[in-house]
Symmetry: D2
Subunit: 204 residues, 4 copies
């Protein structure tokens, strides 16, 4: 196989990229300035070397060469230790941070549980259990499951609640999930029954 | 202009129909069975003759030849008189009814107020004012504004609240709006800040 | 079933219309001016009464109350009798007429043959055979199959050629099909192999 | 700016990639196996080092460490020297090669001329002129402009023909363009007038 083909096949593994666009990426790189490509390579290398996963919340963060293994959020003593938000992935955490609506801790779950029960799951359940046990002694009161509002997300929350019930009971932890209702931009006519029910229950 | 062109131009005025599809409608009708077309004409005629607008909630309903001017919902004495839901249009009312989440009264507003303040509006404000005054004596306690979760819907709710404030104060009526949050099917990553904020506030 | 439901169900049978849009059509008609609805009914009725299928090309046309059964194209003596264009439906004929690129006769086939061979077909093969036999004595030299550039269209052309071969041979008729190549707006990169081959063969 | 942000901004410059997907690329790389990332870096580096632009047709090709500066197509003595196909970019050349419909030479133009006449153009006109002069002595008879079937493509062909006219006249070269017609998958009803005209002219 040619180098162009091999590189195309690597780009096909990028999220949302098909064979045709992968090939366009290769031609784009071939015609790009040497300085752009050099910097791209340098940044990818640096990202793999210098970006670590936080030992507490598991999100990716850039080390400040201070030898620490905690991200800026987890090492910030001013954040509210009583509420922990469980999200599926880093991009979800970014979105919540941008909203400024949460001042507590985070935990990146690494995906959802497959509905079928089959298939390998990378969900960090043991790590979450350990986190709850530890944080319970540091003032944790509430765990908010901020997962996707779809069947897989709902199923994952259900299973997490089951698995974490003993720890919660022992430590007086409360579970909660994000409120459902009308998302910005939606019309009643096109909303499903569950969304309408939640929107009515959560009226204010 | 030919008859085919004239009929096409009428179909173009149907919601969501462009010139090409309008023409396909004409050819569809030309090749349809005579019985289908006859029934279509009969139904359209009947709809205009026998479907009335309810004198109370303004939704469309079919008369039962009982001489009444109230729809089945407004003439149902078992519905909760303490809550009134204001919706933009019939299709929204249908969606709420289908959800089974509201057992009170309805009021069809007939659209939203244009953000610019300009443009003719068909919103039934005087009729809503009259309705509130009357219902206040029949046990009405809460008016739920169930409008679209978009700028125009928010602006309309704001203006309605202003215009209805005197009546509300006089009669101890409470205003509320539908809860915002994650709609079924949405992911955190793709949600805007307002939706995330509401979802966190409405967590349960 | 309610009248609104029955009318919705009729609109669902219109080409490209789903349940939700059908219902919007009903509400649109209910809120429309009486004059608009009256004219719509009148036009639909007139269309069914006054629009006929041409006895020669089978396209729909409006009678001029002259008792004729031929459309304006088929009754126009100045059109080129040597070339006959076979199209699938009226809208295709309209598109060709608008291009001004064909000055001969037309024949509306009424659809394509299903690839599976199964399923009822409404293709007017006997009528086309009769047409060719007649026109062959009036100077017809070429039959152009102007069908869709897709597998069903290609299959239909193949079957028509087989079925019409004896008549063609007997009367020295030539068969042809529309040229393939780049349609306006297409790029080479996104074109399939057949289109590129045809575009190269038809280069000029 | 953080490393994650900087890398995201580089991916945004990839063709067809927005800010959100760029960020997903970064998280994808962070969570990818080290071996995948190492190979990606190695391949990108190799591509820039070992993939050259052919000195004759300007397409990208991988050197075989034989010291040559010609791609496999340009160094193949069996290809037809009488026809030269001018394409906009490598991906177009790939598409033509895959169709197997062209056995002659290629020239990668590097884009199209902007319709406005403004804007920097990277079109290789001087190189094409030189190529035609040389090839004319090696049996070249026809130059096929295989550009996009859109206004910019048509305009570029027009300008190229003007600029190359003296060389063509001097050397008895013929110019041609790809045939227009129905692309695979298109229906007559949705085709523009030019496409229908071409399809009728190119009927066979």
């Amino acid at each position: 196989m040619s180098l162009i083909d091999r590189l195309s096949q690597q780009f096909v593994r990028f999220p949302g990229i098909g064979a045709r666009q992968a090939r366009r990426f290769v031609y784009f790189l071939l015609s790009a300035d040497k300085s752009f490509v050099d910097e791209l390579i340098r940044n990818i290398k640096k990202a793999h070397d210098e970006v670590l996963q936080c030992a507490v919340c598991f999100r990716y963060f850039e080390t400040q060469n201070n030898g620490g293994f905690l991200c800026t959020l987890c090492s910030d003593k001013n954040r509210d230790a009583s509420v922990l938000l469980v999200v599926e992935k880093d991009a979800d955490l970014d979105a919540v941070q941008k909203s400024g609506a949460h001042s507590g801790g985070y935990f990146v779950l690494n995906g959802r549980l497959p509905l079928s029960g089959e298939g390998k799951s990378f969900v960090r359940l043991p790590e979450l259990q350990e986190r709850l046990r530890k944080e319970a002694h540091n003032g944790l009161k509430e765990v908010v499951f901020a997962l996707s509002a779809n069947p897989e997300g709902d199923y994952t929350v259900l299973e997490l609640k089951k698995a974490l019930a003993p720890i919660a009971q022992e430590n007086n932890l409360v579970f909660s999930t994000l409120g459902r209702g009308l998302s910005t931009g939606t019309e009643l006519e096109y909303s499903d029954e569950d969304t309408i029910k939640s929107a009515l229950q959560n009226r204010h």
